[in-house]
Symmetry: C2
Subunit: 404 residues, 2 copies
Amino acid sequence: MYKINENYLKLPGSYLFSTIGKKVRAFEAANPDKKIIRLGIGDVTQPLAPAIIEALHSAVDEMSQAETFRGYAPDLGYEFLRNVIAQKDYKDRGCAIEADEIFVSDGAKCDSGNIQEIFSVDNKIAVCDPVYPVYVDTNVMAGRTGEYDELTQNFKDVIYMPCLAENGFAPELPTETPDLIYLCFPNNPTGATITKAQLQEWVDYANRVGAVIIYDAAYEAYIVEPEVPHSIYECEGARTCAIELHSFSKNAGFTGVRLGYTVVPKDLKCGDVTLHSLWARRHGTKYNGAPYIIQRAGEAVYSEKGQAQLKEQIAYYQKNASTILQGLKEAGYTVSGGVNAPYIWLKAPNGMTSWEFFDYLLEKANVVGTPGSGFGANGETYFRLTAFGSYENTVEAIDRIKAL
Amino acid sequence: MYKINENYLKLPGSYLFSTIGKKVRAFEAANPDKKIIRLGIGDVTQPLAPAIIEALHSAVDEMSQAETFRGYAPDLGYEFLRNVIAQKDYKDRGCAIEADEIFVSDGAKCDSGNIQEIFSVDNKIAVCDPVYPVYVDTNVMAGRTGEYDELTQNFKDVIYMPCLAENGFAPELPTETPDLIYLCFPNNPTGATITKAQLQEWVDYANRVGAVIIYDAAYEAYIVEPEVPHSIYECEGARTCAIELHSFSKNAGFTGVRLGYTVVPKDLKCGDVTLHSLWARRHGTKYNGAPYIIQRAGEAVYSEKGQAQLKEQIAYYQKNASTILQGLKEAGYTVSGGVNAPYIWLKAPNGMTSWEFFDYLLEKANVVGTPGSGFGANGETYFRLTAFGSYENTVEAIDRIKAL
């Protein structure tokens, strides 16, 4: 008789955003007249930029003719895309990353979930608390976390690095030595950032203790302050200790388009084995490439027109972030993030828990946010709002919250 | 110090098709004047059907306007696609499969690689020999197979079910009881099929011993004989023992478009736990949906125009299959498959090994095929050709082989 992967049963409840979705659908069904404003899931709302639309149409036309039709993509992704990524995201920033160290994929969520597969199940992970749930949940599924403790809301064998108001929501080096360290800056969910000097400390630490940093740079396009690094490879020594994940979801509005990439430098080695070779093997065996037309859309992100149009799109969301940040401050909330990030992290008022505030906001203001406790024990009493709504809806949501 | 997933080191050499790619590139570099014809990888060559192109353009236009823009897709895939799949691929064939038992993905390769994650690492797998390498390799990576034995070219803990000329390349029920059984009909690589009555025996067996059948139906569109089932759910009792994988790669030319789906019936349970809930959890946590525009392309596959156009496209490849089958027979080869399948399985002549014949064919006829030994020990001395080239190239390749 077959057996299931029992690790799945350790996962408490269902995936955060599925739970939110269910609650919102139930509220909608009960209140069909209410206009709900969604500032919960980090899903974008602005249409694709014209340069991207043009590239998509053109690639679709190529697929209609035998001479220009494309079947399976090369394992790592098309060179036209990997070359421009290596140039614009790395070399232009002084980072020594080559095109053949870039693996194109269908998004950073998949990569951030799959990357743990190339590591031993015995490895110990360290995560920020609060944290993007995918890092933890995928390690639970792999059997790397031990049991869940209802009381602490922690997994027994995970090293949690508290990100609190006291430390500016920036994790401190852990006392227990981890094998894999998940970092994400600008951070999801807190919107916090760290400086290049601070990130350098993490790189030095990882190299010293023999840990790998899985660096999620999904929100780097929102960085406005010069001391905040866009890539971990801006730090010296990162090529021997860091994997970097990139998303096109937030910098180019690709949440429904699906494109991302992961960088595994060839200098990253465990004994004789390069992690590049392991990830290449996984990529080639369990994955079959992002669609050709989507890879062409990714290329257009880096074109001159694309860059100009996306700068405007990001500015649009940044204005939303400012609107939320300033509005909530004016309304007397304790709030952070929202400067170099599309996420605003606020303290639930009047001693409410995260889910109490979720229900309160949904019922009284018909605004959907994300309960901080969904991101970890130290997210309790916090709440995340995102800048990805339309400007009009964002203004209206903040007006409603102010009026509460 | 972190450790890698040591199971990766058990994999012998690199992924079959990567190896072929390297050999072909080396030959090309050394012989730039030679016109190579590729009948190796199962990659299609015909352009996308007009109905699909139209759907893609239309969906791209939707993504250009805020009112019709789509972000993250629903976890299981869009209803418009799941509904039409449930109707056309199942209900119309008398199979009781509902839309919420269908999980849309970016292809059957990913799903066939990922599906094992929801099962215990202790489970024992049974595979045909020869077999599509992804089934075995992904289980190796997961630590389910034990060590590789160079001598037998087998993994110690895998149950291999020989598919030989003697049994018509159809596996027999294994003597040792497996937990997971991978079946693929029409088969890759042999092109063999089994009848509905034969498949019913497998379903009955799986239900009897408590095994799950992972049924890969990637090539069902090529079936011409009425007694060959298109879906395992045509068999009674399959809802309690079978998961089915579907690809759009071969029935709609989507190798570079990326779309597939997996069916997990809600009756498939291990104790109280439905495999549907586990796969839903995996899908929601480690995956983020196929692109909206690609799901619209998938919908167009089932439209009246799409169906008519794809019938022609499949007929085109079927004609290639016949051309190869007949041509090789005329040239004196021992050959099978190619009737209900786009694959032709031939015995290497004159006692050559599979790779010897690969090199011979590449050098003497400049034709690329796939060595049977790459699919398992019992594939040795066999060779796979595919029907996915252009008709002109297929004819020329066979003429060249005949002239050897």
